[in-house]
Subunit: 252 residues, 2 copies
DNA sequence: CGTCTGTTTGATAGCGCTCAAAGGGGGTGG
DNA sequence: CCACCCCCTTTGAGCGCTATCAAACAGACG
């Protein structure tokens, strides 16, 4: 799925360990998401230090980045592509906690072990840091800590939105909220917003919204039939009547 | 509901503004939750400063502490009683984001306006801080900021648990998870754990678990009938077969 | 003792799930 | 370049869990 870009040739899709890329002498300088991500909190010298303790990596769609329950050795910063964060129940029920896009940070929630798994939805490139090094840095750089706290606060607010969605919204309201949320995040990244790119499968969407793939599909069909959205090539969705979609999402 | 204690005489239950208590010359020194809450991060001098910028207040069950959408002037630290945090949809559907107990902090999520409402479930006493003063303090005291970040990380983890619950668990699994969660939090506070105090109404529980009061009630009945729990006086629940309840909660 | 509110129980309905099969699009190999 | 295949998506039929509507019950309080 999605554009293959410059990723290394085929590797096994399951349990694959993402591998460091070759050239990483000064990748931060050229980083497309520098100002939007954690690193944006730092000045040039701090950034050089960050550069030293960082590795850039790439993965192909389907690769596991971390698995629930493993020792939390690293934290990550996404530079390209889409990741999903999820948790599994013993019988295989899955809940996707969120999707991560370029500029997003993975590792705020982690304790000594990862509490959720993370898997590449599309091909992904990211920076990796050893957790203890970042924690040292937090102690030395209050600016970094402020930034992390602000990010955590944002995630908390989004978490509350998602609880309202999961606890009280109908399938239609959930899907409308989801599409608008994708659009809002694309806008913050400066990515195209209409049509908006929807890189994840129906199953991933269902597991994020607390629905089944079939219900997601049926509901998407109804949104198309009522003219609120339209399907475009390359997994993109055109939002035709944004105001009405907002009304649906909020439950009016 | 619950023990009336030393709270001021009857005030209107709706929209009531909680009022400062009289004696607050050095309440922090006698604070029952000092080490468990944000304040625990501070040394004696810092604590004195905190004392100066703080007001203690009390509310009776049903009082509104803050309302969704209002300017977020304050943050709070609960010292006694139980609060619920919730959000409403236009047609009245409600989602309870969480319950706050002594030692818990309210204000991590807030932006310029409160994103959720907060209402007293029982009579409540708490400390109140002006938000900008706490924010100044954050900048000056990295210790405080670390503490807040750690609390935010915990809340994020709990938020993920709740998303799994709301998105994928059955009514029975939700209720079992809820009771065990109440018990775990009581244990952290050093409160009695078995029987555990369940101060909130069926409706509040339903709005927290994404269910109706009727379903909560029916499910509670089934848990009693199967001998996993028993009702005790004063809104307390005895957990009879903890292991089995855990199995239910996790979905085995 | 009566009223009021919250809880429990009962009967029925409906939204989304399950099971099943057809449709479609992209990648691979001939 | 085309055809096949695989997987994802869509559509259909029927069911079940939880919601809804309704009423009995219980505990708190005046």
């Amino acid at each position: 799925m999605s554009d293959p870009r410059q990723t290394p040739a085929a590797m096994p899709l399951s349990e694959a360990q993402p591998r460091p890329t070759e050239r990483d002498d000064a990748p931060c300088a050229a980083c497309p998401v520098r100002d939007r991500s954690v690193c944006g909190a730092l000045d040039d010298e701090e950034m050089r230090y960050l550069n030293d303790i960082m590795e850039t990596m790439s993965m192909v769609a389907g690769d596991h980045l971390v698995d629930e329950g493993e020792p939390a050795k690293h934290v990550f910063n996404i530079t390209e592509g889409t990741l999903k964060i999820f948790r599994l129940m013993p019988d295989g029920r899955r809940q996707v906690m969120g999707f991560l896009f370029p500029g997003d940070f993975l590792g705020l929630v982690a304790r000594e072990t990862y509490l959720s798994s993370a898997e590449a939805v599309t091909d992904v490139t990211l920076c990796r840091f050893r957790r203890e090094q970042i924690e040292d840095l937090e102690d030395r750089l209050p600016k970094l800590e402020s930034r992390l706290l602000r990010m955590a606060r944002n995630e908390l607010a989004e978490g509350h939105d998602q609880m309202l969605l999961l606890g009280r919204k109908t399938a239609m309201e959930r899907l409308a909220s989801f599409l608008l949320n994708l659009q809002a995040r694309a806008e913050r990244r400066g990515d195209p917003v209409n049509p908006v790119h929807v890189p994840m499968s129906r199953e991933d969407i269902g597991d994020y919204l607390g629905l089944t793939t079939e219900t997601v599909s049926r509901t998407m069909t109804r949104l198309k039939q009522s003219g609120l959205i339209a399907q475009e090539p390359d997994r993109r969705i055109l939002i035709r009547k944004r105001d009405e979609l907002v009304q649906v999402a909020e439950g009016y």
